[in-house]
Amino acid sequence: MLLRKSVHRLFATTLKESRTAHACRALSSINEDNVREKYDVIIAGGGMVGCTLACAMGKNSLLSNLKVLLLEGSPNQTFELKPEYSNRVVALNQNTKSLMNSLKVWRHVENARLQPVRHMQVWDASSDALISFNSSEISDDDLAYIVENDLLLHAVNTELMSSDIRNVKIVYGAKIAEYQLAKSTKESSTDNLVKMSNGDVYACQLLIGADGANSAVRKAMGVQYLSWNYDQMGVVATLHLAEPIENNTAWQRWLPTGPVALLPLDSTRSSLVWSTWQDKAKELLKLPDELFVDALNDALWKQYPRSSSVDACMSWLGSWLKKAGLPDGEARQLPPSIMSIAPNSRAAFPLGFGHSTRYVAPGVALVGDAAHRVHPLAGQGVNLGFGDVKDLTTFLADAIYTGCEITHHSWLQRYESSRQRHNVPTQIAVDALHRLYTLDLPPVVLARSLGLQLTNALHPVKAAVDALHRLYTLDLPPVVLARSLGLQLTNALHPVKAAVDALHRLYTLDLPPVVLARSLGLQLTNALHPVKAAVDALHRLYTLDLPPVVLARSLGLQLTNALHPVKAAVDALHRLYTLDLPPVVLARSLGLQLTNALHPVKAAVDALHRLYTLDLPPVVLARSLGLQLTNALHPVKAAVDALHRLYTLDLPPVVLARSLGLQLTNALHPVKVHYPSSTR
């Protein structure tokens, strides 16, 4: 058997070599003579997710025959448990715990230190709304576990180094210069090449990008990356409490600037994650320790200016709930007071949203933050990454058990769709929550407060929802929160939610007609749900490589335009704004009306674009109140925009157009008549 395997390897190797040689010659940037070693799998990035993946591959009986190389950029740090906690901690959910248990990693964490979270209280600074979770309501298990990043990494590495794992090699301080990715041929594919800055080249069948939010592997894949910055930073610190308490509650208060969260560490210490605007975060970092503590206590306790109408509504709801014998949120627990912070424990990290539209390419897969990045408000980030690890190892093992290559597209695609089904809705829900709570407009505050309060009151419902959710995804409480919220009010308030729901539904149903609809693209989707269509169009545009889409693409521009409205619109916009021919400038100045006439699809895209890039209060309001309003406002805005453009541009053709007179414009478009007369 052994002999057979080595013979097999020898053959496979020579075959691969000849192919690689060919590919290299063409590009000549990486020379095959330098290929030092060949691996089945190379994992780029040894963060929490990358190391866990290596560990999982070492322990899976089907994958432990694979030769794995783990490349980590930073040097090998020796870990020692210090009396003071690290300022970087993560909340781990039950899924992560069971993964770590199956890898025998959890015992190392338990032997060191971790803090179970048994209660959670979330409340809104702009009203009295509150929601609380207890372990017993959801299940007997703890809600989450707070573990230091470096301790978890150390625990994983301890297993990785143990004698159980023989197929993983780790290179620390690895400087990766360049990737040359596999090209798939008919029956098999070439190798991926990883070039190090010292000239060494490693070859592998499967390259895994676990290299974080700035993933170089993702860049080499050339996939679309949908991302935005929150202009926020997460300020972290280790806090000392004023007095020892039974510290097993996670606290989160929603300030108008973002959530501030206290995660329990032990009876006298908690860890802080305070998300706030960038400039405020930088100020907070500069404050002396005592003033920082004051600012923090303020953030936890301060009464924020309230809208009296919101308060009136909330107290009416409270009395109504009391009459009905339901919890009215009066019986709240109070968060601990902070006495001081551990010296030098303050730091800030930029927060952003990122979604790689493809998680896989021929012979390549992304895991962890390389594929998706979320706001830490729900403590989801690394848990999603560990979910990736679990699914990827399951699918790779299944491929081998079925006699296929680990790079077989069928399994890589299954990995991608199974993870995107889970990750994308979670990410969008977290994003929606963030948007919902950073708004301070009374109607929004009222709606979310009523929703939160009602959700809290309706314990049976909440429990049922929780049970259902657990049943299907076994997720972290903050997401349970997001979802419960979602049921009550996000629905009413946030169009994104509708999209999330639709997306989720769309991607979890496997009924033939749905699969067909999914594959046939937008036509049907459009008919089913307009909001979903927009989000879906974006998503689809960048993620799907299904034969029908590819077919459509090759059938030519006509069909592509029909299927890919976003692209068409972007093209139209581009053309519109790069041409400087007088008639175009005129058209431009005439504004969206004309453009609309020229290309109906543009309107939709434009609305979306406008919706998410403008920060004028009415637009923000409209955004939160949903697309209905935006739609209603849209023609008005368009007209205003056109006028604005017309009067601020000083290009000769524009001036010409202007001087050709409003008469012409008026004659061309009755809608515009209204504005010049009203501004005069």
């Binding site: 057979r4 395997k5 013979v7 097999h8 053959f11 496979a12 020579t14 075959l15 009986s61 089907l62 025959n65 008919k186 029956e187 098999s188 093992a397 081998i400 058990y401 079925t402 006699g403 069928s410 033939p512 699969v515 067909l516 594959s519 046939l520 299904l546 034969p547 029908p548």
Partner: protein, 294 residues
């Protein structure tokens, strides 16, 4: 070097086919030389290599072995029929699985064609014998298996019919697979009987085949063969399709116990197969050969 290998295999396959051709269609049972469009030629064994013949083999190999070519449905079919056969023969706890679960299992692949299923089963450890009455197909299978350097455990191919093969291999195999074959044979009763004779008591037999329903008549034959042209015209004859009940009856009369019947479904757009809970179109059936004769 290469030409020498080609020549040897050419001679080998020709000798084989010569031997086998004596048996061919003796009982008139098997006619599954269907799907490919190539015409059968009579090869004269000789010392020179016919360039045209070589080209033909290359073409045929491409035809059968390109996973996105004309036979792509057979390739993607492996995604469900390999697990079907594997799990029917071995049940292995999640943490004890290894890459060759079918090690030490002798499997007979009846109507192996170009060897798409035979190689896949060999890859997970099985000792596979692939038989097909069509010599050209056996040549293609043989050639591909020899040139596949990633395949260490090679199947044995033989151009013969099941009735002839079983005379030397009675009660021999752990598993017998007849994937998309029974709908092409003339004497289904004899075919089933012969398949079971080749099987050890306690062994498993696996069938995949279209059901005989109006749906398969309309979509499987009229639409697929005449409208979409994804299957060559004349591949299937409606009257030869067999229903799960009829097949079960044949099997039970031959001392077998039918263990599972799954519906299967092919999604043309995605080139993807699935097990489904209706058997209107196609189905996969697994039966065990009982120890004691009734």
């Amino acid at each position: 070097m290469t030409s020498k290998i080609l020549r040897t295999s050419y001679l080998f396959t020709n000798t084989l086919s010569k031997n086998c051709s004596n048996f061919k269609n003796v009982s008139g049972t098997i006619q599954y030389s269907t799907v490919h469009a190539m015409k059968k030629d009579d090869h004269k064994p000789g010392s020179t290599i016919d360039q045209e013949d070589l080209n033909k083999f290359t073409k045929q190999t491409e035809y059968w072995w390109d996973p996105s070519g004309p036979a792509k449905a057979l390739h993607s079919f492996n995604m469900i029929r390999v697990p079907f056969v594997r799990d029917g023969l071995v049940q292995c706890a999640l943490n004890e699985r290894n890459p060759t679960p079918l090690k030490n299992k002798k499997i007979l692949d009846i109507g192996c064609g170009g060897g798409i299923l035979s190689e896949a089963l060999a890859k997970i450890g099985a000792t596979v014998t692939g038989i097909d009455a069509n010599k050209d197909m056996i040549d293609v299978a043989q050639r591909h298996s020899e040139s596949n350097t990633k395949l260490v455990n090679k199947p044995n191919y033989c151009c013969t019919t099941i009735e002839d093969h079983v005379s030397n291999y009675r009660n021999y195999y752990d598993g017998v697979v007849a994937s998309e074959v029974i709908e092409h044979v003339n004497n289904q009763e004899l075919f089933v009987k012969s398949c079971i004779e080749a099987l050890k008591p306690g062994g498993r037999i696996f069938f995949t085949t279209p059901n005989r329903t109006r749906m398969t008549q309309v979509f499987g034959i009229w639409v697929a063969e005449y409208v979409l042209n994804i299957v060559p015209k004349g591949t299937h004859q409606y009257e030869k399709f067999i229903t799960p009940n009829e097949l079960t009856f044949l099997l039970e009369r031959n001392n077998c116990h039918v263990e599972v019947v799954y519906g299967t479904m092919y999604n043309v757009l995605l080139n993807k197969w699935d097990f489904v809970n209706f058997q209107t179109f196609m189905y996969a059936l697994q039966a065990e050969k009982l120890e004691i004769k009734k």
